[in-house]
Subunit: 218 residues, 4 copies
DNA sequence: TCATAAGCGAGACGGTACGTCCCGTCTTTAT
DNA sequence: ATAAAGACGGGACGTACCGTCTCGCTTATGA
């Protein structure tokens, strides 16, 4: 039952960690997730394979960390920027949250448009797709993905929607989690399956319908 | 354009084709998609590897055909059965369509509940997840997946929603494709990401919200 | 015990047989014996694989027949030509035999020089090497090779050497088979193992030594 | 000139190397060269295929090394043993050489009889035939075979024959390489082609004739 | 202060699966 | 019935990676 020796993370090389992150993201974007290999990442990062195996259990885990790191750095760069939008990852920074101007539809459109932009960002598309796909098939990884990346953003929606409920813009008997999926679900569906192009207009349309459906009965 | 040599499909062994389908589905269900190998499928089907490579370009393609075949056979078995629901695949048979009782919400609930049941069916879950995930990462395969498996069912929704538009239950300025995604999107989101359990109650809730949002303004 | 059906050789296509011979020889010369395949021979000959399997038990057997055919045709072409030499194959034709001018050494030099020329002929080298090598490893094939190709020529030596024994040029207690190998053995050794170039001068040297060794003691 | 990547031979596993040698020799003896496969060797040696491909370019090369190793170990075991004879390989040890008792014929008979015994040794026959045959067809391999295995022994003959020339037992104008082939050629010819059984008597006969032919004219 | 033990680069190792090439058999169609 | 064509079950090929395991080589304490 001895845990086979836990590596001492205080001695970990930050240089290598970053190089591995960068190599992983670059390779996934360049050659796709399937053709990205641990050996390839190690070679590209100028790192021994063991250094990867020492700190991560799988290729997907490497990519996940790399992605979290990327999101974290992006958030840092953004600084006090306003509409950071969804998908920015849940890293420590004081997540900006969804604005509350009193106009629910307008607020949601702002955020959903930002999400559309992110999903259409070529630098993020490949790793995001890879991680999502992996999580769909591998429940354990999927749970981690949801917990670390998705939940933090979704919580923002829950907050805003609760506020809307209190303001009387949304029926009290609707679960905010359901309301949120009414917004995010269609977006993700179109993006994941590539059925039709993902545009701001589409985001607006979804928001209009969803907000209408969530509003209290006349 | 000559792809090196096209095999003569009239001489194809039906016996082998079926054995490969069965083996592929069984293995994906038993050991998961990643651990399902072409060699494994060939061995299980009692077939030479080349017989697989001769007719399919990839593991995913094999599974796709196997799944289409399964859906086709299921549809055949169902025959004139009542509410076969979504997910039954688009094979030639006179697809049953979504009932039109005049009560849009009730009709959609019926179909969405059936879809929920299918997604929760342990025999279908693994291959469906595998194919969806593969399609998310591989655009070509994804297009095929959407075209062969998804579109045929979605067309049924489009039909029903157009009828609803004519009946005045849905605003005329809403694109039926968007309306449809308002229903399917949340369901798939929850199923794919496993954020929360997928239940009939959830389907009903989605339908209620969506139908409300799609209805003409008061 | 039924011999699985003996093909009717009277209906055999001569056209195909020749095409197969030619293809086999050409391929062996061009790409080497190892890389020559039955499929390749069939394709090159414009023939179905089964046509080869019907009439020959192995690749080596095809090549052997092809080689015999080649030797036969060469002998035919040569017609009444004098010094056909060794290696001409034992096909029906009235094999010319080794001349008997009374000068044993001179007669043998003539024949051995011809053999040297044949072994150095680039058109014959590859198939001869291939068949010899195959026979070295496969005893059954080797026996056939010796019986069909080698023995007929060696018999000529035996005849000439017996005549020499009667003429008193060779000791009576020497087995002509041994005497013959004293001449052929060194030649073949140098050719097979490529230790040194195979020349007329070498043939002469061998003959001189061998004839000296075979002569009656002074 | 960089051949894609040279493995670091200082880290090579000696255990694996030996296991591969043993497996190769065993398989060639048991099932024959043609049916010996790299996969089979790897499996029998308990080794990954890549470990073979990393260090050898072909099946024949593996067998060659295995054979050299075998000869080397045999020579070591023999130690200061007397007439080890030909075929013992040219490994570093102070090769015993051919005795020089003054009686050339007797000395050569001793050595040639030993060679006959070696060629008839069932443990050595299969690999020796396989290597020889492979070398006949593949010039590169053949050169290696001659250089590493054959030349060292032939050098012993050259030495002894030069001594015989100085002693006046052999004509001075005969190339020792030719003289040597007069002895070895017939032996190899009979063994390779299996024309007749290879016996001590035959070796003696060859020596008598050859020594007679090499002797100065009366 | 310096041995000593960790992380590290490198890469050999026993393996699994890949996708390809042929094997020898069998079946189909045409002559 | 032979022949051309080629699909089939099978086996081996040589390659690419997997995850584990030594190797020397730094680096960074803690005895």
């Amino acid at each position: 039952m001895a845990p086979t020796k836990a590596p001492d993370s205080s001695r970990r090389s930050d240089r290598s960690r970053r190089a591995i992150h960068d190599a992983a993201l670059a390779l996934v974007t360049e050659v796709g997730y399937r053709r990205t290999t641990i050996e390839g990442i190690a070679a590209r990062a100028g790192v021994g394979k063991q250094t990867i195996y020492r700190w991560w259990p799988s290729k997907a885990a490497v990519l996940m960390d790399a992605f979290l790191d990327l999101a974290g750095r992006a958030a840092e760069d953004a600084g006090a920027g306003s509409g950071s939008g969804a998908g920015s990852g849940g890293t420590g920074e004081p997540a900006p949250g969804i604005p509350d101007t009193g106009d629910l539809a307008a607020d949601l459109k702002l955020v959903l448009r930002a999400t559309v932009d992110e999903l259409n960002d070529p630098a993020l598309e490949a790793p995001t797709r890879a991680l999502t796909a992996e999580g769909i098939v591998d429940a354990k990884l999927g749970a981690e993905f949801v917990h670390k990346l998705l939940d933090p953003q979704l919580a923002l929606y829950v907050t805003r929607l609760r506020a809307a409920q209190e303001a009387g813009d949304v029926r009290a008997d609707v679960d905010p989690r359901t309301a949120l999926e009414l917004l995010i679900g269609p977006l993700m569906h179109r993006w994941l399956l590539r059925t039709l192009p993902l545009t701001h207009a589409y985001a607006d349309e979804i928001v209009d319908c969803a907000v209408g459906g969530l509003a209290p009965r006349a």
